[in-house]
């Protein structure tokens, strides 16, 4: 009887708790985000401090604030090498994290990452064409892009990523549902992979070596002049992601519900694909195919914040992504050793167990898109 009474009575006199605090709160969580921001700044400073030459933290701060360092060479090291590298790492981590989040939501698949669209395969193909084929392509590309310096790899990767991006965007506007897009992206990946294999097969050892080295990934190749390209492109991609936040939230319920909520699916999908491909494409072009971050960061953020709200997850993915990339780069320099380890090996070797540990301990992945 109690059940029946409450059903008939509640509408006129909704049994609303008087204190607002008892209702779950939505939207931004300033404290959590501030903490993430603090950790990111710390990681940023650490990555400026460590390297083949150890520069004390307070000296790093002095240099950053425009002061005189104890040794003049430190200023050069910070400004010419470590700052662009750290900025690159932070941008790449943020870009891959947000791109992965968008893909996982769009395809409602916890295994989706920025590379499912085939954009990085396109970049790989571009690089393979330059590195593995004879020198002619190299000079042609340089002439076409008109950029000075040793930009050929980045330019080739950008053109490859851009070509696939254009293809995927065209397809995104035509296909009925996103799963088709997912499969098309995979197919593009296979085709470019096959061409790369053929190129590898007919190439010589030194060139293959160079191609593999690019595949290891590195944040170190971005000079200030390249930063003028990378930073704006990543900025545009992130801005687009922020604009699409509301649509991404609606897409949590699936495309049919999102449409019933007034979301223009085709436009939203095109926007998400464009943003994601710009982010992943730019990073791959300048840093190589950085695996793992794109798939892991969104899961990490959902677990840490216990939320599915993109208004919260996008800033979180930016901060956590940047932090993770900075830390991975720090480990890759292997403090105390003279060698630099392959970045891709480090991100997965240290990152994957961390994510596994957090997910298992908090047991929070259940229910994510039907897992």
């Amino acid at each position: 009887m109690a059940q029946k009474r409450s059903i008939t009575d509640t509408f006129q006199e909704p049994a609303m708790p008087t204190s607002i605090a008892s209702w779950p709160r939505l939207g931004l969580r300033p404290l959590a985000l501030a903490a993430m921001c603090g950790v990111m700044i710390l990681a940023f400073l650490l990555s400026l401090s460590f390297g083949s030459v150890r520069i004390p933290l307070e000296q790093v701060l002095t240099i950053l604030l425009g002061g005189e360092a104890e040794r003049a060479s430190w200023t050069t090291i910070i400004y010419d090498f470590r700052l662009p590298k750290a900025l690159t790492a932070a941008l790449a981590g943020a870009a891959l994290g947000v791109s992965g989040l968008q893909m996982q939501t769009l395809f409602r698949n916890p295994l989706a990452d920025p590379f499912v669209l085939g954009v990085s395969s396109g970049a790989s193909l571009g690089v393979a064409l330059v590195v593995l084929s004879v020198g002619v392509a190299n000079t042609t590309l340089l002439a076409v892009t008109g950029l000075i310096g040793n930009l050929s790899l980045a330019a080739a990767a950008s053109i490859g990523a851009g070509a696939v991006l254009a293809l995927v965007l065209t397809l995104a506007q035509r296909v009925q549902n996103s799963v088709t897009l997912l499969i098309l992206g995979l197919m593009i990946g296979y085709i470019t992979g096959a061409i790369v294999s053929l190129l590898l097969y007919f190439s010589i050892a030194e060139r293959i070596q160079a191609y593999i080295a690019w595949g290891f990934g590195s944040f170190g190749g971005v000079t200030w002049s390249r930063m003028h390209v990378l930073a704006p492109v990543v900025g545009i991609g992130l801005l687009l992601a922020l604009i699409l936040t509301k649509s991404l939230n609606a897409l949590l319920l699936g495309e049919a519900y999102a449409r019933s909520l007034g979301v223009d699916i085709r436009r939203a999908r095109t926007g998400i694909v464009a943003s994601s491909a710009l982010l992943a494409g730019a990073v791959t072009a300048f840093c190589g195919p950085i695996a793992f971050l794109g798939i892991a960061i969104p899961h990490l953020c959902r677990a840490l914040l216990r939320s599915a709200d993109h208004r919260l997850l996008i800033p979180a993915c930016i901060l956590v992504g940047a932090t993770t990339a900075l830390l991975a780069d720090l480990f890759a320099q292997a403090p105390g050793m003279s060698v630099v380890l392959p970045l891709n090996a480090i991100t997965a070797l240290i990152g994957a167990p961390t994510v596994i540990w957090i997910l298992l301990r908090r047991g929070v992945e259940r229910g994510t898109f039907g897992v």
């Binding site: 609303m16 209702w23 699936g254 449409r259 909520l261 229910g367 039907g370």
Partner: protein
């Protein structure tokens, strides 16, 4: 008569593929939905109920004709404008991790919020009212994937309610629910429709519940014709037989339900009274016998003896000694043996 919220005018529904001929599911539909009414859309599988629902809520364009929504042609409205007038509960399951019930219901405010999706105090108020209306205030902090099917469906109704629509369309909202939960949902929808003066249209296969709780039935027959009317009018007019006419199924106008069994093979005399007699008759019907009162001359005669709690049965055939059984299961088995 209350206000007509949704009306169709010579509406044709179906699919128009880019290549190949159009597939018309139903044509020339002239239907009306009124404020405060619950309409149940009934019909055999594959007849086009979902297509009709999808067309009515603007998720699919009509092949011909118009849908008028509160006096406005649906095809002239933008997706967002439609979303402010129509909300849906779909059959597909929402699978999201880390999404609270409150956040899910808040997504219903999507067409009303600004580009960031930020909730104003008014939006929060509407969300809370929607949760209270479906008696799910205590679920607000729970995660969606932890809910039972019944709770989940109530919450999905709250989400649709938070959209503050004129029309709510629900595609088989009672599927996957047990009987108490189905009754609860139907009662909830009726109450919401009447109290908030919204129109509710829902498709269902739950004939019994639809007959008892719908203000109006839309009965969709193979071939695309739709009979609209009060449930009782449609029963009396014979529309049910016409719609669901299939071999092996017949509609019992007295009981208001379908009989799944072929017409009875033999007549059998059944003596006794009360609940035990009624259920004996049902068991016999299932086995293919028609139980009749014993004033007619029949070969087989069954008597229900014992009291209501511990009935037993006596079976007499022409001339043979009477046989006794303790359960209806045994009775049916015995009948099969006698018939050989």
């Amino acid at each position: 008569m209350s206000r007509a919220i949704l009306a169709t005018e010579h509406l044709s529904i179906g699919y128009a593929p880019r290549r190949g001929p159009r597939r018309i599911v139903a044509s020339n539909l002239n239907l009306t939905l009124h404020a405060g009414e619950v309409v149940c859309l009934l019909g055999p599988n594959g007849v086009g109920k979902s297509t009709l629902l999808r067309t009515l809520v603007g998720m699919q364009p009509p092949l011909d004709g118009r849908v008028w929504l509160d006096g406005v042609d649906l095809s002239t409205l933008s997706a967002r404008e439609i979303a402010r007038r129509v909300s849906v509960v779909l059959t597909e399951r929402v699978e999201v991790g880390q999404l609270t019930v409150y956040a899910l219901v808040a997504l219903g405010r999507h067409p009303h919020t600004d580009w960031t999706g930020r909730l104003t105090p008014h939006d929060e108020e509407v969300v809370r009212r929607a949760l209270a209306a479906v008696d799910a205030v205590n679920l607000a902090g729970r995660l969606v994937h932890e809910l039972s099917d019944g709770e989940r469906q109530r919450v999905m109704v709250a989400r649709a309610l938070a959209q503050e629509p004129l029309v709510m369309a629900l595609d088989e909202p009672t599927a996957f629910l047990d009987l108490p939960r189905r009754v609860e949902i139907m009662r909830l929808l009726r109450r919401l429709a009447h109290e908030t003066q919204r129109a509710m249209i829902l498709s269902t296969h739950d004939l019994d519940l639809a007959l008892r709780s719908a203000d109006l039935l839309w009965l969709m027959a193979p071939g695309g014709s739709v009979h609209a009317g009060a449930p009782e009018d449609l029963v009396l007019g014979g529309a049910f037989e016409a719609t669901f006419a299939t071999e092996g199924i017949s509609f019992d106008r007295h009981q208001g339900h379908f009989r799944i069994h072929p017409p009875t093979r033999r007549r059998i005399a059944l003596m006794g009274d009360g609940v035990a007699r009624e259920w004996t008759a049902r068991a016999l019907e299932r086995a293919g016998y028609a139980a009749v009162t014993p004033d007619e001359p029949v070969e087989l005669c069954i008597t229900v003896t014992g009291d209501g709690h511990q009935p037993c049965w006596e079976v007499r055939t022409n001339g043979d000694a009477p046989q006794h059984v303790q359960t209806l299961h045994d009775l049916v088995a015995l009948m099969r043996r006698i018939e050989g």
